[in-house]
Amino acid sequence: MELLDSISWVAVAFHTLAAVAVISALLVVFVRNIVHAVLWLAVFFISLAGVFLTLNAEFIAAIQVIVYAGAICIMVVFGIMLIRRWNMGETNLFNSQTVAAAGVVALVTMLSAFLSFKSGVVEPAGDVPVNQVESIATALLTKYVIPFEVAALLLLVALVGAIFLAKEVKADDADSHS
């Protein structure tokens, strides 16, 4: 009982969620079926939302679920569906530079982990305010209004660009290009 009392729920939650996140991230990279990878990606996103909850960032967590799990996964799924033509079981393979990549990545990860570890135990500088949404909204619409508008513009541009890129090419055009 004492042992258990010393554990904070936040810590338990964090470690569980972190484990889930890392495992699902690994699965995203290593499963051979791209659809499975996307489904694992959804799991990853949701577990990350949990991680955000342990950071008292409820708003970000909700956004994470809406945008990533709710929208981006769907988009990727749509993309896959639009271009599937091969055997689904062999869609998520490695290329020829895997070993070299593994080396570089290991070094990068180790380095950043080492640097992170150097930061040591840091206690939160204070309590995160309870009413986050209002504060975030105020900040977004006053102090950060220009980045906010730019982000809106970015989304618009992305929208238009995506539509333009993926639009059907007329038959005669397609002939002249290809």
Binding site: L82, R85, A166, K167, E168, V169, A174
Partner: protein, 364 residues
């Protein structure tokens, strides 16, 4: 977005193909690139069977073609044999034929209306029309003893006279029929979603309709006034005053609406027939064993689906040498493949429903 097309096999076991019927759809996304109808899953060889039966024994088999309007199916065959033998049908029998035939037409159109609602997704309409069709079937059962496959017509007349209790019952039903039609109009025809689904969908131009030998509501939806009862009145249809509802656009909506309007016209015809019906025999003088002279005859009647024709060849024996049925559903269906191209999957269902086929008739 340019994507690969893929093949979707609609049927033969599919909820809305109205029987065992198959359409092979080539799809680009949800859009139909090519549609190939494949009938034949209900083929029973009635034409061949008829060659081994006597002339009277063929009648029950005609029931099994368009089992939604079996009276009309009987009528076409009987008319052909009568033409072959040159039989004069008694007056009363003609009136009885008109009354039961038009009742049968009402029943068939009720099915078409309700099933079309079901195709579009309004399942309640389906039960409403079935509920009201039961009244018609009650009437026909009163007359013939069966609810669907009547075998009521005989060469030279009908099997039995109308019972006494039939007359008040049919008048009561006809009194209620307009309210029923209004209910379908309210529930289906007036519904904006239904209109959005059916208007300007699956348009048949009059030229194409004629070219493809379409008939019945399918052709009249395009505005072609081709109703045998008016154009070449058979039996005693020239004695009745009724209108032929026509469509303007030739879309699914028009084809559907015409059927409801035709029910109202059927009411007028039956009422006039009930008023005019004389007393008298219901069978002409026909020999016990029917042996028509050598020769052939082709007779057509207007069934609920379109022009239903029967071609009979006799070699003088008691059995028909060759019988061919011109089934309206079958020929109307021939246009389906062309008609579906360019529409969505859901429209295929809407178009198929609007043609109103019965697979028993298509496959014969």
């Amino acid at each position: 977005m340019k994507t690969e097309t893929y093949t979707l096999n609609l049927g033969p076991q599919h909820p809305s193909t109205h029987g065992v019927f198959r359409i092979i759809l080539e799809l680009d996304g949800e859009t139909v690139v090519k549609a190939t109808p494949v009938p034949g899953y209900l083929h029973r060889g009635i034409e061949k069977l008829a060659e081994a039966r006597t002339y009277t024994q063929v009648i029950p088999y005609t029931d099994r073609m368009d089992y939604m309007a079996a009276m009309l199916m009987n009528w076409g065959y009987v008319a052909a044999v009568e033409k072959l033998m040159d039989i004069e049908v008694p007056e009363r029998a003609e009136y009885v034929r008109v009354i039961v035939g038009e009742l049968s037409r009402i029943a068939s159109h009720m099915i078409a209306t309700g099933a079309y609602g079901g195709d579009i997704g309004a399942l309640t309409a389906f039960t409403y029309t079935f509920r009201d069709r039961e009244y018609v079937l009650d009437l026909l059962e009163m007359v013939s003893g069966s609810r669907m496959t009547f075998s009521y017509f005989r060469i030279g007349g009908v099997a039995a006279d109308l019972p006494e209790e039939f007359f008040p019952a049919v008048r009561k039903f006809l009194g209620e029929l307009p309210a029923m039609c209004d209910e379908y109009d309210g529930l289906i025809t007036g519904n904006e979603i239904f209109q959005a689904r059916t208007k300007q969908v699956g348009i048949i131009t009059p030229e194409m309709g004629i070219n493809y030998s379409l008939s019945g509501p399918t052709l009249r939806g395009s505005g072609v006034n081709y109703d045998l009862r008016k154009v070449r009145p058979y039996g005693i249809y020239d004695r009745f005053d009724f209108d032929v509802p026509l469509g303007q656009n030739g879309d699914c909506f028009d084809r559907f609406r015409i059927r409801i309007d035709e029910m109202r016209q059927c009411k007028r015809i039956i009422e006039q027939a009930l008023d005019q019906i004389p007393e008298g025999p219901i069978m002409a003088k026909v020999p016990k064993v029917i042996k028509p002279p050598v020769g052939d005859a082709y007779a057509e009647v207007e069934s609920s689906k379109g022009v239903y024709g029967c071609y009979v060849v006799s070699d003088g024996s008691p059995k028909p040498y060759r019988v061919h049925f011109r089934r309206p559903s079958y020929i109307n269906l021939g246009y389906l493949g062309k008609l579906c191209e360019g529409w969505k999957i859901a429209d295929v269902i809407a178009i198929l429903g609007s043609i109103d086929i019965v697979l028993g008739e298509v496959d014969c």
